[in-house]
């Protein structure tokens, strides 16, 4: 008893919990015995327990959060402000042992499990971190005035691409950060065009604005790292008068994990993951990098993909190598590839039943990328539909075979292409008149496959005219 007499006891309860109600006589007994050394915190309703006068208000959950209360009731035994031990729920022998009262709860059953603490309710953890863990986030807090509408205030502050954004409250940002193990204050890199350092936290805030779920966050982070690779040339891509902007292609298990669309309407609207992952990078470049349209973004027309442009590959054909595999990754790797491109040029071919005819047909369309008389200027991604892929595979061809024949059909005598040829001023320099020119530079044509199962239509995503070492090259980043 002597040893126990200097101990202090803290009990945490909530009215909603039947076990807490059950132990009311126990609490009376403890208060009678240890009056000054006992603290009783109540999480929900301070009228409970009725027969106890002295109760402490923990409706803010500050005490419960600081002391990691997971179950109510919790009995904590401490000495000199140091916790010695705790028990949860009602376990008569444990409570007796901790309190040193051999007759505690004489009339009660021996055991009844407790209930979840209010700190454990869904969505509560992030609220508590936001309320009490002030050191986690370092971005400036912007309190809204009483009359301010949260959606409108995001527009007014210039954070939006023109569509509504999700207001980035600290609770939402903390939830987003749960999508990564990386520390909020880690610098991911310098975001062009202003080249200002960007933390993981800033990426999370912009992912919230974009409407991402926390499980998308690893892809968003990988997309930022890809965009910051020197060979992607994000700075120049943003500033150009040309149409291009980042186009994202996702490969690997993450497609199913987060529900990216690689089927019907894969490049269209209607899928949250596709729509928001692509948007997050654009918003980050706007908000952190300072890349504003009409400011340093000098695009003559731009393109609708500057809101968002992200899709996933259909990987259902094991014999068809994926874009990520072509880029040196394994099929089991989750990878995001970024390409400086724009738009979608459809290719209709409903008659070819063999790969040879289809290759010639598609090559004809590929020749028109940028301008039918400009060769080696822009890269391209060819997006093969599942039906066209079937035609190729039924001919016994691999993607590699198909690409080879495509490239053979993309050669053209310089004489047909030089400036003035075909009575068109635009074209290739005169000095290339006697050369045979290839439409795409080496490593300038990429092939992926996606879309619904019906429709003999493929498509071209045309690249930036500053493709290659002088400007942008496709980049891939493991997620």
């Amino acid at each position: 008893m002597n040893q126990l007499s200097s101990n202090k006891f803290t009990i945490v309860l909530k009215k909603e919990c039947p076990t807490c109600e059950l132990i009311e006589p126990v609490l009376r007994q403890l208060v009678a015995e240890y009056e000054k050394n006992i603290s009783i915190y109540v999480q929900d309703d301070l009228t409970f327990p009725r027969s106890i006068d002295k109760k402490l208000d923990d409706t803010s959950l500050e005490f419960s959060y600081a002391n990691n209360i997971e179950i109510v009731p919790t009995l904590i035994c401490s000495n000199d402000n140091e916790e010695i031990t705790r028990t949860v729920g009602w376990d008569k022998s444990e409570w007796r042992q901790l309190t040193g009262l051999a007759s505690l709860g004489e009339d009660l059953i021996d055991f009844k499990p407790g209930c979840g603490s209010k700190t454990q309710e869904p969505g509560m953890e992030e609220q508590l971190i936001a309320r009490f863990d002030k050191n986690l986030l370092s971005s400036r807090n912007i309190p809204l005035a009483e009359s301010e509408d949260e959606m409108e205030s995001c527009f007014e502050r210039g954070w939006s691409d023109g569509l509504p954004v999700v207001p980035p409250t600290s609770v939402r940002v903390i939830r987003m950060l749960k999508g990564t193990h990386r520390s909020p204050d880690e610098i991911i890199g310098k975001i062009p065009p202003d080249n200002l350092p960007c933390t993981i936290e800033k990426v999370a805030i912009n992912a919230v604005l974009a409407g991402c779920k926390p499980e998308y966050f690893p892809i968003v982070l990988a997309s930022v790292e890809a965009a910051l690779q020197d060979r992607f040339c994000m700075h120049g891509l943003l500033c150009t008068t040309y149409f291009s902007s980042p186009v994202m292609v996702v490969n690997g298990p993450i497609i199913k994990e987060i529900g990216l669309n690689n089927g019907v309407n894969a490049l269209g609207q209607g899928n949250r993951a596709n729509a928001t992952v692509g948007r997050a990078l654009q918003l980050l470049i706007r908000n952190v990098g300072g890349g504003l349209p009409g400011g340093i973004d000098r695009a003559v027309m731009g393109n609708p993909g500057k809101y968002t442009y992200c899709f996933a590959e259909d990987e259902s054909d094991e014999q068809w190598t994926t874009l990520a595999q072509d880029r040196g990754f394994n099929r089991q790797d989750s990878v995001i590839s970024l390409f400086a491109g724009e738009g979608l040029q459809p290719i209709v071919d409903q008659k070819s039943r063999g790969a040879e005819s289809l290759a010639k047909s598609i090559a004809n369309s590929l020749r028109t990328v940028v301008n039918a008389k400009l060769y080696g200027a822009a890269d391209a991604i060819l997006v093969i539909s599942p039906e066209h892929r079937r035609v190729i595979r039924d001919s016994g061809w691999t993607k590699e075979n198909f690409k080879e024949v495509l490239c053979e059909n993309l050669m053209m005598p310089g004489a047909n292409l030089i400036r003035g040829a075909q009575e068109i001023s635009e074209g290739m320099p005169e000095k290339l008149k006697d050369k045979i020119l290839s439409k795409f530079r080496d490593d300038g044509l990429h092939i992926t496959s996606t879309g619904g199962k019906a429709g003999m239509f493929s498509a071209i995503i045309s690249g930036w005219v500053a493709s290659g070492e002088k400007g942008s090259q496709i980049v891939s980043q493991k997620i």
């Binding site: 912007i142 309190p143 002088k470």
Partner: protein, 93 residues
């Protein structure tokens, strides 16, 4: 009552702003750099400018960026700043 508090999505930093150097009072005897950013016809345009500058008594040095799509290499910036009193950049075609 609106209790919403939002977190700032911007960098919260201003990009470095550089002061404009004092303007030259005369071109006579000054060395002026002409930077071609490698856009088509940049050379022809800067040839014309060079002629005018020489007519005004300036000395002209010519420089070329490797590609218009990327920012100029630091070494090139330094070289121009050491060798010239002023620079004119052929920014676009």
């Amino acid at each position: 009552m609106n209790n919403t508090v939002m977190l700032d999505p911007t960098a919260e930093l201003k990009p470095v702003e550089r002061q404009i150097l004092p303007r030259l009072e005369t071109l006579s005897g000054a060395t002026v750099g002409l930077l071609d950013i490698s856009k088509p016809r940049g050379k022809e345009f800067l040839d014309e400018i060079e002629e005018h500058l020489i007519g005004l008594g300036a000395k002209v040095k010519r420089y070329t960026k490797p590609t218009f799509a990327r920012i100029a290499p630091k070494e090139l910036n330094q070289k121009i700043s050491v060798e010239c009193d002023a620079v004119i950049e052929g920014l676009a075609d």
